[in-house]
């Protein structure tokens, strides 16, 4: 079955600076340097699951899904459902431990609409975190929406 309308697409960007493989490598190295400074914030309790925001300095970088039943992080893109009874304090402790064991994967994805690199951070066998880095691979790009969400409903 085909969709009734074609998907909305932006006009292709005119690249003022071509993407280079070295930029992706720089982005990965930058996240490696930043990883020891990542800290977990106050868990966000949803009706059916808990997310734990990860902060770099005073800005949120991304959120990690927490599996209350397995008492471990969940893969990116697969938030658990039905773990509303999980304890936010316990979620924080588990994610703090997981973040210490996390490692930066050796390649990045480029997202044209956001004009940035996305560097995956893995725990054991799966990705738990996406970190956005500027096109030149020199600056971390915070998740401003998440930062505000945490500040409004919790503390850093």
């Amino acid at each position: 079955m085909t969709a009734p309308f074609p998907p909305i697409r932006r006009e292709p960007r005119t690249e003022d600076r071509p993407l280079k493989p070295e930029d992706g490598k720089k982005a990965v190295e930058l996240v490696r340097e930043a990883l020891p400074f990542f800290r977990v914030g106050e868990p966000i309790t949803h009706p059916d699951h808990i997310d734990v925001p990860v902060f770099y300095l005073d800005f949120a970088i991304d959120r990690i899904h927490y599996d209350g039943k397995a008492k471990s992080p969940r893969p990116k893109g697969a938030p658990p459902h039905g773990s509303a009874a999980a304890n936010p304090g316990e979620a924080r402790e588990v994610i703090e431990r997981a973040l210490k064991e996390a490692r930066v994967l050796d390649a990045a994805e480029f997202r044209e609409p956001e004009d940035c690199w996305v560097v995956p951070v893995a725990w054991k066998s799966f990705i738990i975190l996406h970190v956005r880095v500027s096109r030149e691979g020199e600056e971390l790009i915070p998740d401003y929406g998440l930062t505000e969400e945490v500040r409004r409903y919790g503390t850093l």
């Binding site: 770099y56 300095l57 020199e138 600056e139």
Partner: protein
């Protein structure tokens, strides 16, 4: 709102990596740089905003470099309180005093400057007690700057101060609201409206209390060192903003009042909201905070009394 815009632009987070580099592996120098940066930043952004911005950096650096986190956080909170004392827009108690006494922006700064300088010197002296260990941190990656938001916030801040100076504060509010509505809506969403309401209630409640105390014949000193010591002590008991509202109702001399409630923000943790924010973010114990803050408060209070005499 303009301060919030500056914070969300990432300006201060952008400064952080430069500080680490400038510290050149020295723990003591890093602490001095933190104090200087936090106190300077607090003169334009509120002291509690400065804590939201800098405490995560102080904690992260302290943990990585194995520095005493409680001491670093406490000195940072004191730096925010001291720096914010300099300008009329540095903290809520200064805004109250600035408006209710109709003082000039520069007049306020000129009068506060010698004392803020003294308090900073005392804080620097306290940092000299830190053993100068070599730090292992070399580099902290930078965060992207939101240039449009930075420019808009800086312009708003300047326009606000100018409009307030010429007695058009309501116009400053409308201007800032409109500017951020058009160019930085997330600043309005992130702005702590509940805090404004809290201060409004504090103002109403403590104004009433001042009226009741006056009716009961209880009078506070109206100037000099007496007023300074009383305002610092009351700030220690129930925080410096309520103390300002309570004491300013009787229209005493503004300078001893301002000095008392500003130095009263250090010491006991309830002295100012910035302290509470700092220990909450950093998860530092109250006892650990007091171990460093109370001696500082007592020394700074004593030296200020000597300067006032």
């Amino acid at each position: 709102m303009a301060s919030k815009g500056l914070e969300l632009s990432g300006l201060f987070s952008k400064l952080a990596p430069r500080l680490i580099r400038a510290a050149n592996h020295s723990e003591r120098r890093l602490m001095l740089l933190f104090i200087l940066t936090i106190s300077l930043s607090s003169t334009v952004i509120m002291n509690d905003t400065a804590m939201l911005v800098f405490i995560p950096l102080v904690v992260a650096t302290s943990e990585i470099a194995r520095v005493d986190t409680a001491r670093a956080v406490t000195f940072s909170a004191i730096a925010a309180n001291v720096g914010s004392a300099l300008t009329p827009i540095g903290n809520p108690q200064n805004i109250i005093i600035w408006h209710s006494y109709g003082l000039g922006f520069l007049e306020f700064i000129r009068s506060m400057l010698p004392f803020v300088f003294l308090w900073l010197l005392v804080l620097f002296a306290f940092t000299l007690t830190i053993k100068n260990r070599e730090l292992s941190v070399e580099r902290i990656p930078p965060v992207a700057l939101r240039k449009t938001l930075l420019v808009v916030s800086l312009i708003s801040l300047i326009v606000d101060v100018v409009l307030a100076e010429i007695g058009r504060a309501p116009l400053a509010f409308i201007f800032t609201l409109f500017v951020f509505l058009v160019l930085g809506r997330d600043v309005l969403r992130g702005f702590d409206w509940a805090l404004v309401l809290t201060f409004a209630f504090i103002f109403i409640d403590f104004n009433e209390l001042a009226f009741l105390l006056k009716s009961a014949g209880l009078m506070f000193p109206t100037g000099g060192t007496g007023l300074f010591v009383v305002s610092a002590t009351l700030s220690q008991l129930f925080s410096n903003v309520p103390a300002t509202v309570l004491l300013s109702a009787g229209k005493p001399e503004w300078l001893p009042l301002s000095l008392g409630v500003n130095i009263g923000g250090s010491g006991i943790v309830v002295g100012s909201l910035a302290n509470l924010i700092a220990i909450r973010i950093a998860r530092v114990g109250v006892g650990d905070f007091h171990r460093h803050s109370v001696p500082y408060f007592l020394v700074a209070l004593l030296l200020s009394v000597l300067l006032l005499l």
